[in-house]
């Protein structure tokens, strides 16, 4: 039987962000933007969605006058990611 895929993770950019954060302790906005090759506006919207779901935590600070956004994956995010991958496996096997 197919498990339903988490719609929040089953999107190209959000899945990319979560996969990047899974391998890092923390990452800043510019890094995520560069690695996912996306626009600032787009990534900003997706980060907010992930943050609202509690999958990532976002810390906003300043480096001099430059704003700095640092993201971290949460325990809830890791669990959701693992569930997503397990669901994917059932699709691949069948």
């Amino acid at each position: 039987m197919f498990k339903e895929l988490d719609p929040l993770l089953h999107s190209q950019l959000r899945l990319a962000i979560m996969s990047l954060l899974l391998g890092l302790d923390s990452a800043d906005f510019t890094f995520l933007k560069e690695k996912t090759n996306s626009t600032a506006g787009n990534i900003s919207v997706q980060l907010d969605k992930l943050s609202e779901a509690g999958y990532i935590s976002i810390e906003k600070s300043f480096n001099g006058k430059k704003p700095l956004t640092t993201c971290k994956i949460t325990k809830k995010g890791i669990k959701a990611f693992e569930d997503y991958v397990n669901s994917l496996k059932t699709y691949i096997k069948n």
């Binding site: 890092l24 302790d25 996306s38």
Partner: protein, 190 residues
């Protein structure tokens, strides 16, 4: 990259996850500054200690006070770096930093308990340092630093058989070969 307009197949999802994880891993920065800086500070301290012993100075260990400004310089450099560069930290980078802070803490307290260990301070610190150096070399996937750890291990064992005066010389040589040389090689790799 599209946000959600494109439907992903399970295989595409897996490919994307693999690609992103590969982007993130192996992102450990090769920062040679600490190896070169501490290599020189410790060599100067050991040689200074040897010379002060030779000239029968009453407090040869006073030369070790230079590690205090050393800590301050390291701390200032580290906090400056984190402000300048983007704040992407891999787990392995954090492990590496924690490893050296732990080593520094051990090295800072052992001299105060010298009396309990028959004043075999140098060999113990070199042996603990060998563990930190080999592990750091493994984290950076840098063979010369791993080999440097082995040099520390051998130097530490040799020190047990020597007088404290000669231990200073052996330690200076060990640090030069095991720490400074890999540090310069690391720097030249950039």
């Amino acid at each position: 990259m599209n946000n959600e307009t494109e439907k992903l197949s399970p295989q595409q999802s897996l490919d994307l996850i693999t690609a992103m994880i590969n982007q993130a891993k192996g992102n450990v920065r090769n920062n040679s500054f600490y190896y070169l800086f501490w290599g020189w500070v410790l060599i100067v301290a050991h040689l200074g200690s040897f010379i002060l012993n030779r000239i029968d100075f009453d407090y040869p260990f006073a030369v070790w006070l230079i590690v205090i400004p050393g800590w301050i310089v390291s701390f200032l450099y580290g906090s400056n770096q984190s402000k300048r560069e983007n704040r992407t930290t891999t787990h392995l980078e954090r492990v590496n930093i924690t490893l050296w802070i732990s080593f520094g803490s051990i090295a800072a307290v052992i001299p105060f308990f010298g009396g309990y260990i028959n004043y075999q301070i140098n060999p113990i610190i070199l042996l603990v340092g060998s563990m930190a150096t080999v592990t750091s070399g493994t984290i950076l996937k840098f063979l010369p630093l791993m080999a440097g750890g082995v040099v520390f291990f051998v130097g530490g064992l040799l020190c047990f058989f020597m007088s404290s005066e000669i231990q200073s010389l052996v330690s200076a040589v060990t640090i030069a070969i095991g720490y400074l040389v890999p540090g310069y090689l690391l720097k030249s790799q950039k």
